[in-house]
Amino acid sequence: MGRLFWKIFLAFWLALVAAAVSTGTIVWLQHGAADAAPKDFAAGPRGGMDMAAAMLRDDGVEALRGWMQHRRHPAPIYVVDEAGRDVLGRAVPAAALARAREIVRRRGEGFRARSVVGPGGERYLLFAPQPPGMRLPPRPLLEPWQLIAIGLVTSLVFSATLAWYLARPIRSLRSAFDGVAAGRLETRVSPKIGSRRDEIADLGRDFDRMAGQLQSLIDAQRRLLHDVSHELRSPLARLHAAIGLARQDPRKLEPSFERIEREAARLDELVGEVLTLARLEGGTAPGPQETVDLADLVANIAADARFEAEAAGRKVSLKSAEQVPVRGRAELLHRAVENVVRNAVKHSFPGTTVEIRLAAAGERALLSVTDRGPGIAPGEAERIFEPFYRGAAAPGGFGLGLAIAQGAIAAHGGSISAANAEGGGLCVQIELPLAKGAQARA
C-alpha cells in the first residue's frame, strides 16, 4: 500500500465520518425538538387521566361516573374497582387490565395506568388501553454504540475500497515505468488495467503506446548497429587478408596495396553513409534550407548517370517539367535522387533504358525512375528501403542507398515508394511538396 492509498483512504474516510457526525448531530437536535412537541399534545389521554384521577380522589366515584358519561369523544379510560369491574359497567378487556396492573406494579403512577384511592378509601385502577393503530415508538433495533460501530466499519471498508480502486492502477503504472527505466521495454500495463475505462486507464494505454514506440525505435537502432558491425567486418577481414598476402610474398606488395586502398575507401564510404543515415534518423540533417529547382537537380544527375550507364551499355532518358521548385536542402535531395537513379542503372539489364520523369501536379512534385531490370519479389516493396537490405540479385553496395533516399525524402515531408513497373523492372516514385509561393512551369 503506497502513500497515495493512505492519503485517499484517510481523506475519504475522514470526510465520511465528518458527514456522518454532522448529519447525526442535526438529526439529534431536530429529534429533540420533535420529542418535546408530543408533551403538549398528550393532553388527550393524559389530560383525561389526570382529570379522572383528581375527580375520583376528591369527589368520589359517582361524580366520576357522571363526568365520564358526558365526555365527548372520549379516549376510553377504564376505572376498575378492586373486584375488576368497571364503574360504568363496561366489559373490560382482560389483557389490557393485566397490562395496566403490571405497569402500576412496576412503575407506580404512570401515564397510561395509575392507582387512585377514592374519598371512601376504596382503591381503583385507572387505565387507558392503547387505542388500536397507535403504538408506542418501537424500541430501536440496535443500540447507539452498535450503530456507530457499524457506520465506522462500513465507512472504513468503503474508503479502503475506493482508495484501492484509485491507487492500484497508479501502482501498476509505476511498476511499469520502473520496468521501462530498467530497460525492459516489453513492459505493458494493459493486461493489468483490463477493461477499465477512465482517465487512468487512458494513461495506461498511452504508456503502452509510448513503450511500443520506444521498443521499435531501440530495436531498429540495435539492428542497425548489428548490421553496421557486420558490414564493417567484411572489409576489415579483406584488409587482414591483403596484408597477410603482402607479408607472405613481397612480390604481391603492389596488388595488395591496391586492395588495401580499395578496402579502406569502402570502409570510409560505409562510415559516411551510416553517419548520414544516423543524422537523417536523428533529424539533424546538414545544410541550409533553400529553394531548390528539382528540374535542374534531376537534369544534372541524369547527365552524370547517362555518362556512367553508357559505359555499361545502358541508356538514361529524362522527361522533365521546366521548373519544379521545392524547399529543402540541396545536398540531401541530390543524394536521394542520385541513389535512386544509380540503383536503377545498376539493376537494369544491358541495352535497356532507365526512364526518369519529373512533373508538378497541384501542390506536389512527382518524380518517377523506372528501370528495365528484374524488379522485386512480392513483399519486398517495403523492405528495399530498410538499411542493409540487399535484394537477391544486388551486386556490391551496402544496401544503404535507398534507406538514405527514404530518410532524406521523409525529412522534406515527401514520400517514396517502389513497385514493379508494367513490362518488367522496378519503378520508384518520389513525391515532394512544392515550395509555397514559387511557380512551377511545365
Binding site: H230, L236, A237, R238, H240, I243, L245, Q248, D249
Partner: protein
C-alpha cells in the same frame, strides 16, 4: 600430400584471397560460398578440415554444421563474429571443434588449421606408448583414434577425443583448463573462453555413467579419477 581445407564464406573476394594465402602455406583449398554447398562438400569426405563462416546465405554456418555432424566427424572451425558469444557456444555445442573470431589475420587462421590438423590426424600423431590407455571402464586407442566406455564405442569429435586423451594420460591428477587447451586444441586458453567447458559437457553426455569419473574443480580445471 597437403591437407585439404574446405573454406565456406559468402565473401567471394575474401575467399579468393584466403585461398591464395593458404595455398602458399601448403594447404589444398576448396572455396564455397553458401551453407548448402558447404554441407554437401564436407560430407563428400575429401577434406581433412572445414572452415565455416557463421553468416552465409541459403544455410547459415550453424545449420550447415548441424547437417555435417549428422554423419561426419570431420574437424570443423567456425568463423564467428568477434564478441558474439552465442554463435560461438551454439557452434561448440553442436560439435564444432574450435572457432576463430572474424575478422582474423590469415596467419592466425593458418596456425589454427595446423594446430587442429596436427591433433586430429592419426598419422601425424606419434605416440610414445603403443598400447591403449585404460582408466576404469574407459579404454582409448590414441593411434586408432577410438575410445570405448564399458565396451561401447564412443562417438567423439576430434577435439573431444583429444581432451579425453589428455585427461586419461593424466588420470588421478588435476589438469588445468589451460593445459587442456594447449594439448588438445593447440592454443593457449583465451580469457573468458568457455570452449573447454562446452566440449567437456558434451563429453560427459557421451560418457553416460562413466562421466562421474570426471570431477570439475571450479576455477582450476578437471580431474579424472583413476578408478
Amino acid at each position: 600430400m597437403s591437407a585439404q581445407v574446405l573454406l565456406a564464406d559468402d565473401d567471394v573476394e575474401l575467399g579468393a584471397m584466403l585461398k591464395e594465402y593458404l595455398e602458399r602455406e601448403g594447404f589444398g583449398v576448396t572455396v564455397v560460398h553458401d551453407g548448402e554447398a558447404a554441407a554437401r562438400a564436407a560430407l563428400s569426405g575429401s577434406h581433412q578440415i572445414v572452415v565455416l563462416d557463421v553468416m552465409m546465405p541459403k544455410l547459415d554456418g550453424v545449420e550447415a554444421l548441424r547437417r555435417i555432424r549428422e554423419s561426419s566427424r570431420v574437424p570443423v572451425i567456425m568463423l564467428t563474429a568477434r564478441g558474439d558469444d552465442v554463435d560461438r557456444i551454439v557452434g561448440l555445442e553442436l560439435g564444432a571443434d574450435d572457432y576463430v573470431p572474424k575478422p582474423c589475420t590469415p596467419r592466425e587462421l593458418a596456425a589454427r588449421l595446423r594446430a587442429i590438423l596436427r591433433r586430429t590426424q592419426p598419422a601425424s600423431h606419434p605416440t610414445s606408448s603403443a598400447g591403449p590407455l585404460e582408466v576404469g571402464a574407459l579404454v582409448l586407442w590414441p593411434e586408432k583414434r577410438k575410445a570405448q566406455s564399458r565396451g561401447h564405442e564412443l562417438e567423439l569429435t576430434s577435439i573431444e577425443f583429444n581432451i579425453l586423451e589428455v585427461l586419461m594420460r593424466n588420470a588421478g591428477r588435476l589438469v588445468s583448463k589451460s593445459e587442456i587447451s594447449e594439448q588438445a586444441l593447440g592454443r593457449p586458453l583465451a580469457r573468458f573462453d568457455r570452449s573447454i567447458d562446452v566440449h567437456m559437457s558434451s563429453i560427459r553426455q557421451k560418457l553416460g555413467d562413466a562421466a562421474k569419473l570426471i570431477r570439475t574443480v571450479r576455477g582450476l580445471g578437471y580431474h579424472l579419477a583413476k578408478e
